[in-house]
């Protein structure tokens, strides 16, 4: 019998605990497939955030550490200084990375730490039950913006790729989306490129993945993807923002 599809080696056989239609599973899979294809499972340390993906430490089959809210890039900094041969990646949501962990994100990027940061942006705090995130869209309802996000009161959604791309040092910054098979294929290329750059010691790699949260958005899986396409992609346009290894210049470059 010929195996045509299987679980990546870099994932454990623990059943994912994410909600139906959630795209964390997809993000986990493309990272795990990339780890497998690069043959780095036994050199890789993954860092689980606080948020829905806190349980990532149970799902990846590489070394895993679960860390305080927002501090993953600082922990990764300590690891890669202690073990320069390790491939260290962080996996963080929008609250973790762009609210409580903003300083760690910006400064690890500015130091061009040789790590891969995978940023899952679904515009909401998932684990705690749907509160407003730094990436919540204008007018979007969340449990802590029950009348819709009022940008005059709580600011405009933060575009992290654009912010980080203003820094001189970061090596690679790209925003992708996980809303269709075609986009997922493209997202995987970005993930694999980030990990490859980390292997090659090229510095800070940052891949933002536009994702969904059917549960907290109150939508079914299919319509949540349509909603994200219509509402999130205009605010968070996918694109390559920086690729110093490939000679790309700073600033958004729409493809």
């Amino acid at each position: 019998m010929k195996v045509v599809a299987k679980r990546p080696e870099a994932l454990t056989d623990v059943r994912l605990t994410y909600c139906p239609g959630c795209l964390h599973g997809v993000a986990h899979r493309i990272i795990a497939e990339s780890v497998d294809e690069l043959g780095i499972k036994e050199r890789t340390i993954g860092i689980a955030p606080v948020g829905c993906a806190v349980f990532a430490y149970r799902f990846f089959a590489c070394d895993m550490v679960q860390v305080p809210h927002g501090r993953a890039p600082a922990v990764a900094t300590g690891m890669r200084r202690a073990r320069p041969g390790a491939i260290v990646f962080t996996y963080q949501g929008d609250g973790d990375l762009a609210a409580i962990g903003t300083a760690e994100t910006v400064h690890s990027a500015n130091r061009n730490e040789n790590i891969s940061v995978f940023f899952i942006n679904n515009a909401v705090y998932g684990m705690t039950g749907g509160q407003m995130a730094p990436t919540t869209l204008p007018g979007m309802r969340a449990t802590t913006s029950p009348y819709g996000r009022d940008v005059s009161d709580t600011g405009f959604p933060m575009r992290v790729c654009e912010m980080l791309a203003t820094l001189e040092m970061p090596n690679y910054i790209e925003r992708v989306s996980l809303l269709s098979p075609k986009e997922i294929v493209k997202a995987k290329k970005a993930v694999k490129k980030a990990l490859k750059y980390t292997m090659e010691g090229r510095g800070f790699s940052f891949v933002e993945m536009i994702s969904t949260c059917p549960t907290n958005w109150g939508l079914d899986p299919v319509s949540s993807r349509e909603w994200a396409r219509e509402n999130m992609l205009p605010v968070f346009p996918p694109g390559l923002f920086k690729d110093r290894s490939a000679g790309a210049k700073p600033g958004a470059e729409k493809e």
Binding site: R43, A48, M64, V65, P68, A74, G78, M79, A82, A86
Partner: protein, 352 residues
């Protein structure tokens, strides 16, 4: 032991940490411990070590968490307000059972306080400090030499029991210069490969997970039980204290730690010359606390006097240890004002 070198306490503890095999140090500037950060910035590159100035105390302690998770000797330092910020990370490090050393060169508080040598972080240091049910061993030096000696000892305790260890010194010890001798040998690194993370490439059969999340109450209960078994071992093996002039069977015994104890010793010597015998019990480990030694010192005394550079924190542990065997009185100074030996001698005479 090698030659004697005249050094500030902050520099001595940094040099001692490097000689103890620490090659990963992460910190953020704050007075009065900046000489420690600056010494590391100068020395670490010369010994192929890592010095990194973090963007915050939060980042620094989490860098320590990351390095410690990889099984290397990692350290950070700060002063009181900065240590408050590190408490989140210290709680995680304790929960994940990672070995790490944290130096607190205390200053006046609460709030921004001042940069004078107040010892007002006793409660924070000895009661875990951050959120959750845990403790960290706390070493409290009273001379620059002892401050330096505590660096290798802190790494040994950290690695033996897989716990963060705190060195609690006040600003006076950090700033003061005294001759220091460094030991020739460094603590033998313990093999951490059975739990640490990092490239393993065929050397083990499965990946390692370091985690402090236990959603099922019974699982967290079990983890906590194990943690407290370790604390019992630490209590059994690591309690340290010093007594001074106790052989004179004094009717009054002073309990003091750190700088307060050092000044008290001078007062005791002065009083001895006048024919007045006073004893001292000086806790060196503030956690675990030398309760038995304190109880023993109190058993032959008419009175115990607790002297602290704060408004009364260690006195609570002393009262618990003495347990009513004799009256316990307290004298303290706040704001970073330090007792002179004459102050203490006068105080003792008044209390006798």
């Amino acid at each position: 032991m090698g030659e004697k070198i005249l050094m500030k306490g902050n520099e001595a503890v940094a040099e001692a940490a490097i000689r103890a095999g620490c090659r990963h140090y992460f910190a953020y500037p704050i007075t009065p411990q900046n000489e420690l950060v600056e010494y590391m910035a100068k020395r670490m590159p010369k010994v192929n070590g890592t010095f990194l100035q973090a963007e915050s105390e939060l980042a620094a302690i989490n860098m320590v968490l990351g390095a410690a998770a990889c099984g290397v000797r990692a350290m950070t330092s700060s002063s009181s307000p900065g240590i408050s910020l590190k408490q989140e990370g210290i709680s995680y490090i304790a929960a994940c059972r990672l070995p790490a050393v944290i130096v607190n060169v205390t200053r006046g508080g609460p709030g921004l306080g001042n940069i004078a040598p107040m010892m007002c972080d006793y409660f924070q240091a000895t009661r875990g400090g951050g959120h959750g049910d845990y403790y960290t061993p706390v070493l409290c030096p009273s001379t620059v030499q002892e401050f330096a000696d505590h660096a290798p000892l802190a790494f040994e305790i950290a690695e033996r029991y897989l716990t963060p260890v705190l060195i609690l010194a006040d600003g006076l010890l950090g700033q003061m210069m005294e001759p220091v001798e460094f030991p020739e040998k460094t603590p033998v690194p313990k093999d951490q490969s059975d739990w640490c993370v990092g490239p393993w490439e065929g050397k083990r059969t499965s990946h390692h997970v370091i985690n402090s999340l236990f959603i099922v109450p019974e699982d967290l209960e079990e983890k906590t039980r194990i943690l407290f078994e370790v604390y019992e071992e630490i209590k059994k093996n690591e309690i340290r204290y010093e007594t001074y002039n106790m052989e004179s069977n004094p009717s009054l015994v002073v309990a003091a730690a750190g700088t307060a104890a050092r000044v008290t010793k001078s007062a005791i010597d002065e009083l001895k010359a006048e024919g007045i015998e006073v004893g001292l019990v000086r806790p060196i480990t503030l956690w675990p606390f030398p309760s038995e030694a304190v109880a023993k010192a109190a058993s032959g005394a008419k009175k115990m006097l607790v002297i602290e550079l704060n408004m009364g924190q260690m006195v609570e542990d002393i009262r618990l240890a003495v347990s009513g065997a004799c009256p316990v009185e307290f004298a303290g100074k706040a704001g970073g004002v330090v007792f002179t030996p004459e102050d203490i001698a006068a105080l003792i005479k008044e209390k006798m």
